[in-house]
């Protein structure tokens, strides 16, 4: 089937409604896929198939056969299945052959909308009897053992105790999800503290507000709280795996005994000062762009391409530590390996087999079958792993056990089924790395764009090459240095020539070639260069600045092609030429009118043309630094990122300095006045942006309005 070009996710998504056409895939009937560090979905072979759907409990002592809005499911070590049938106020126990072997309505008093269950290794059931405000402990026959009500503690105040999701640790502590915490209760019903609260970090704005707010105002300031937990499960390794709505560190957490998250994290939240400006940009303006370009658990776009923030309803972990979660908003099941790499995603909201209406609980049995409970459909679908995903599981397990040779073989078997499975290539690259076959490792990791593995291998490879060809490399470096010295001195010569030619030939206009050379003199003597413009403003060549603008753009594009792969901030195929141009030019282009406006109303002397010329000069350092840097980056890797970053930053600092000097020299301002005028110009720039944005949105809306009026008119009267 022919395909519509893939619909990318651009900045415009924030303003315009996206039309999404899913592709007709004739080639494969699979609905399974993986996403890497971006939101792109790569199809993979079908990984789980539905082998059974449990719609009712069968004939059992005249009990109601069907479920009513069941909300939790548990599979114990013997593969017995427990279903919390919330509106029927009961717990149903089925054996591994799906025969009902017990229905429990509450041991001492009837359950009141129970919402969660945990079963320990002895078959003892702990039911969250939610509206009875207790956790009740029953023996395997359903007899009352004990109950746990709200534990008393100074720290446990406020809302009433409505337990829903819980686990019981082997030490006998009960862990219950309670808002932003997991509350621990000991075997005697005593309060044992809160567990696993995420660090909420330090907020500069809030801190400032607290300093300046009056006592009265402080009372009304909302206390910042950490995000809520959603669900939790107990791993075979004794760790607590939990899902939360915490978006900064990661929604899926593996908590160790002291409540620290040791699973894959987006970033570590410390007490560092956060930058409110970038925060604002990241959180508000670029939300969707950021979400699509960095690793996240789940997905931030649903099948229609609309932005969403995932809520992981339930989580389960198998013996090997493979984590599977089920998401509420798009109904997908996501599976991750021990290190947080996505293995597969499947399911979704639909009406066919293997999809859901409102999935609320998931669990895994000893054979790796997944059970997904659907609250609205009131059924359980049993998913059996296919050979493909079983191989993947074995391979990750072997790698985690340090069994690299085995995992290598297994990953190759995975590739026999799916040549494009990212993690298999990464796994093989890692094994090559361990086997010191760095070149092969680089090749494999580059195939799937894994920068981390590539960097490791590349760094080692560099040393190998250096050891092997030490003398030739040294010679080469000497030659290069010599060449650079010659080039730089030539450059200085020509730049000087251009400068003096312009200053001395007072009757002639600036020539184009000389103008370019003059511009590069900025690198040597910025102040002289700018003064030269100021005193000869009538003679400058106005083609030069535009050529500089274009040159900087060309450098940017070259840079994107040439920069070393692990250092690239953006995948080549994701590059948008217009967006790149906008990023590069937006500051100088708005700076020119902004500073002209600002200075012309406060005694500035500069003319529009010379501001344009001088602003273009600020791009010279960008060109001068990035041109060699892009070549140099090819012997750098991600571990030298800070060096590399320093150079890039230097270009921008340099640009800023030139702009500052422009303002000062062209207008003959004092230092203080310059700073003031810089701020005014910056403010002007912001206003220009806002106005442009506003016009864009308003015209868009206006056009939309007119079109819809016309449409409506046609529909109603024609």
């Amino acid at each position: 089937m022919k395909s519509l070009k893939k619909i990318g996710i651009g900045l415009l998504a924030a303003f315009t409604c996206m039309i999404s056409v899913s592709q007709t895939a004739l080639a494969s009937g699979t609905d399974s896929y993986v996403t890497g560090d971006d939101s792109y979905r790569q199809p993979v072979p079908e990984s789980y198939v539905v082998v059974r759907t449990i719609n009712n409990i069968g004939g059992y002592e005249d009990d109601t056969q069907t479920f009513r809005e069941p909300q939790d499911l548990f599979v114990d070590k013997q593969d017995n299945i427990y279903i919390v049938d919330t509106l029927n106020k009961r717990v149903v126990k089925m054996n591994s052959n799906f025969e009902t072997v017990g229905v429990f309505y509450g041991p001492d008093k009837p359950f009141n909308s129970p919402q969660g269950i945990f079963v320990d290794d002895d078959g003892d059931m702990y039911v969250a009897d939610t509206n009875n405000n207790r956790v009740v402990h029953m023996d395997p026959e359903g007899n009352f053992v004990e109950e746990f009500t709200n534990p008393e503690s100074d720290l446990n105040t406020g809302t009433s105790f409505t337990p829903s999701k819980l686990i019981v640790s082997p030490t006998g502590y009960i862990y219950v999800v309670r808002g932003e915490n997991i509350m621990a209760i000991d075997g005697n019903g005593g309060f044992r503290g809160y567990y696993g609260q995420t660090n909420i970090g330090y907020d500069l704005v809030e801190a400032l507000m607290r300093i300046f707010a009056s006592e009265q105002q402080q009372k009304f300031m909302v206390k910042r709280t950490a995000s809520s937990y959603v669900n939790l499960t107990l791993g075979d390794d004794g760790m607590i795996y939990a899902t939360s709505q915490e978006r900064e560190e990661g929604e899926i957490k593996e908590l160790n005994s002291i409540g620290t998250n040791i699973y894959r994290k987006y970033k570590t939240i410390g007490n560092s000062v956060r930058n409110p400006i970038t925060d604002f940009i990241n959180n508000k303006v670029l939300k969707s762009v950021v979400a699509s370009n960095s690793f996240k658990f789940g997905e931030y776009f649903n099948d229609e391409g609309e932005y969403m923030e995932p809520i992981f309803e339930d989580i389960c972990v198998d013996q090997d530590g493979i984590v599977t979660v089920v998401e509420r908003l798009n109904g997908k099941v996501y599976q991750y390996d021990q290190a947080g790499n996505m293995l597969v995603a499947f399911g979704g909201l639909n009406e066919k087999k293997g999809t859901f209406t409102r999935p609320v609980a998931i669990d895994v049995d000893s054979k790796g079958n997944l059970y997904v409970l659907d609250r609205i459909n009131a059924n359980i679908q049993v998913f059996e792993p296919t050979e493909f995903i079983k191989l993947v599981h074995e391979a990750t397990a072997a790698y985690n056990a340090g069994n690299y040779t085995d995992s290598f073989v297994l990953w190759n078997q995975v590739l026999d089924i799916d040549e494009n499975y990212d993690l298999a290539h990464t796994g093989i690259a890692r094994t090559y790395y361990k086997q010191e076959q760095y070149e092969l490792s680089m090749e494999e990791s580059k195939l799937v764009g894994n920068r981390d593995v590539y960097t490791q291998a590349f760094d080692e490879y560099k040393y190998v090459v250096l050891r092997k060809y030490f003398v030739p490399i040294i010679l080469l470096i000497v030659v290069i240095i010599a060449a650079v010295i010659v080039l730089v001195s030539l450059f200085i010569k020509y730049a000087k020539k251009g400068y003096w030619k312009f200053l001395e030939q007072k009757d002639k206009k600036m020539g184009f070639g000389a103008g370019i050379m003059y511009a590069f003199y900025t690198l040597l003597h910025p102040i002289d260069t700018l003064e030269g413009i100021r005193y000869n403003r009538t003679r400058i060549n106005m083609v030069v600045p535009y050529v500089l603008f274009i040159a900087a753009y060309v450098v940017r594009i070259m840079y994107l092609y040439i920069v070393h792969f692990p250092l690239a901030s953006i995948e080549l195929e994701d590059v948008n030429l217009v967006f790149e141009a906008a990023k590069l030019w937006i500051v100088p282009i708005t700076w020119i009118p902004a500073s002209f406006m600002a200075t012309s109303i406060s005694g500035g002397e500069s003319k529009f043309s010379e501001i344009t010329f001088a602003s273009a000069l600020s791009l010279v350092p960008y060109i001068a630094i990035n041109l060699p840097l892009m070549f140099l980056s090819n012997i750098m890797s991600k571990s030298q990122q800070s060096w590399y970053g320093a150079f890039s930053a230097a270009a921008f600092v340099w640009m800023f300095i030139i702009m500052f000097l422009t303002m000062m020299i062209l207008n003959n301002y004092t230092l203080k006045k310059t700073i003031g005028m810089m701020l005014v110009s910056a403010f002007m720039m912001l206003i220009i942006w806002l106005v442009v944005l506003l016009c864009y949105i308003l015209t868009g809306r206006a056009i939309q309005f007119v079109i819809s009026v016309i449409n409506e008119f046609q529909l109603n009267f024609l």
Partner: protein, 770 residues
Amino acid sequence: MAKKFSFQKLGSSVKTFLKERWGTVVFFVIVAAFGLWGYFSVTHATASAVTYNTEYTAPEGNTDYSQEGTYVSIAKTDKLELLYNEAKGAIQVKNLKTGYVWKGIADNEVYDLSSVSGQWNAYLQSPIVITYNDLSKRDSSMVKQYAGRDALKLDYKLIDNGVAVTYGFTQPGIFITVEYTLEDDSLVVRLPVENIDEQYTFAVQTVEMLPMFGAAMNDVGGYLFYPDGSGAITTYERAPLRNSNVRTATFFTYSNRYLTFNNLFNSDSYDRYTASMPVYGIKNGDNAMFALFTKGAENSGVVVTPSGYVVNLNHIGFEIYTRNAYTVNLTSMSTSEGATVGNSTQRVDKTLIPEDREIRYFFLDGEEADYGGMANTYRNYLLENGLLNDALQGESDKMSLALNLLMGTTKEGMVFDEYITMTSFEQVQEIMDTLARSGVTSMEVVLTAWQKGYDQYEYWGPARQLGGTGGLNALNQYAEALEDSNIYLENGFSFGSSETKGINEEEDVVYDGLNLQVSVENMDGTVFYLMNPQASYKRNEAFLDKLDGYRSFGVAYDDVGRYAYADFNETAPFTKTQMVNKLMELLASTKNTGRKVASSGSNQYVLQSADYLYGLREDAYGLSITDYSVPFLEMVLSGLIPYSTEGAGNLSYDLQVQKLKWAEFGALPHFYLTHESALNLRDTGYDSLFSSTFEDWLGTVAETYAEFQDRLSVTYGQRMIDHTILSEDLIRVEYENGAVVYVNYGSEPVQVEGVTVPAVDYLVVGGGEK
């Protein structure tokens, strides 16, 4: 003294007025423009609107439904007897061989009618059900009327071998005359368009025909069969195991009834709503009924309602669409969340679709009373009426390998899009030669995306990177020398885009009922269209001309057999039926050039011309009401047209399971390959081809082919006459020569009928002589 009138003065005062009040002037000009536009639009609308001058007075009713009435014999053949009940306007058909009576409506023997009241009580007792709109009101809602309650005027007339019954829905003034006759041992139900009589502004939208015919409760034992995917059944026995939340399902013949781009293009919604055959069936105990829409099927659908949906009665029937319907989006506005809130409504055409309808009901018993018997009946009907091509001509050629080759694709680049060569024309030869050396001597090869502008829906222009026309020519010569293999060039004519060369974006595209183009716009501004049948036909002719120099290629159509729709284009409108006829003409025209025709869609109308079918569905959609998928379509085709299914061996999670599916469905082993590495397809439109490198798959392909050749060739070219689901994991398939294939999907070996079927394997028994 009166002021002297001066033009000059007037001029200057007008000038000052304009100068000072230009805003007001502009405002009034705009208002006037709007007013004029509104006036003309309204007059235009009034002129083109249908107006009714007569006041309608409903006639008196003559029917008393409280009377039970009796069934009297109307017509009789050797095998069937048709009975009619004057009081109810209902029919019954008696199978004289078994004595089983198929009831047109539910009575107290079928279901305890006193247990349901209101409209469902009426529904159960209705031979037909209609829905209508009031055309004199805009966007009036749809009203449903049940013949068993609302047809207050009942009339009948005896005709040859049957009866014509007029159901008079007096309140809306709609009179529908249905003709029931016995012909050739089947019940034929006809609804000619002139038999729909609308006396007032109420317009019939749909007619449900005999919705309760053969309705049965679960204890009868049996199933409903419907054309979901390859075919699906809902058994009566498994009703207690199903979800308590039972839903009904409708499948539209050939393509979705509602014409939107997405309904057709999105594979999920396509699969959900499309029936490629206008058929359904009921098995009640030892008797079965098979219904086939034989005329005007294009505007129909099958409505499946298993027990548990309001009443505990399994029933299924055809729904006839007498008018085109379309969805109208009234307003779309953005909310603060950026979501679009759509307000949509259904509209119908003013005029009836001018087509006669004919449905045939066949009655089966004994051995034939199952979906196997239905498939045999259907196959015979199609053969007798020249609607099914006997491509194999009874001689069973060597079983072929079904091979799809992806030739090339484009990947979006930063500045230029990059063309990715996956298989060049020369490499096609290389692949076929290599396979031949490995023992694969017979192949059906479909080449996909060989055109330069494939992504822009160009039908011609062999890509330069693949070898250009020179390469294609060389391949043509190579193909000439092939004995048992065919090479097909894949093409499609249903879609176009604003980037397609040579299409007229005004005239060649499909319009919906509001005279708006059926299209969708991509993020980069490309607009995608549905092509109207006239344009499709023209483009196919042009393609055949271009192909004239390449005699040995067949043509594979990837969409002609999938999409059929109506075009409301004002200059040359097409009904869905006309479109189907045009598509049949298109295929016949290709066939007339002496070429082989392949199709990936299997809508009934392609079966007449197709020599090879690929990409057939190998299961049903998977609704919660469906118990099993059955290879109904494949049973009809088996022994006549070779076919392969959509599952490709290289894309399966487990090749062994895929092989079992092929063995069960009688399909050719199928692989979808490329010469270059599949890694090149990342980030392209073909990323779902995640594993396709020929070099890696060569061994597997050859082995699989050898295995099928060795074990299943006895079934090839034979008609599949029976298919039985023995248990969840065990299937038995029988061919006309007596060969039986047992397929065991389970992980344990199974003993059945004296043989042991190994785990996850199949076993072929008998069928030595052909």
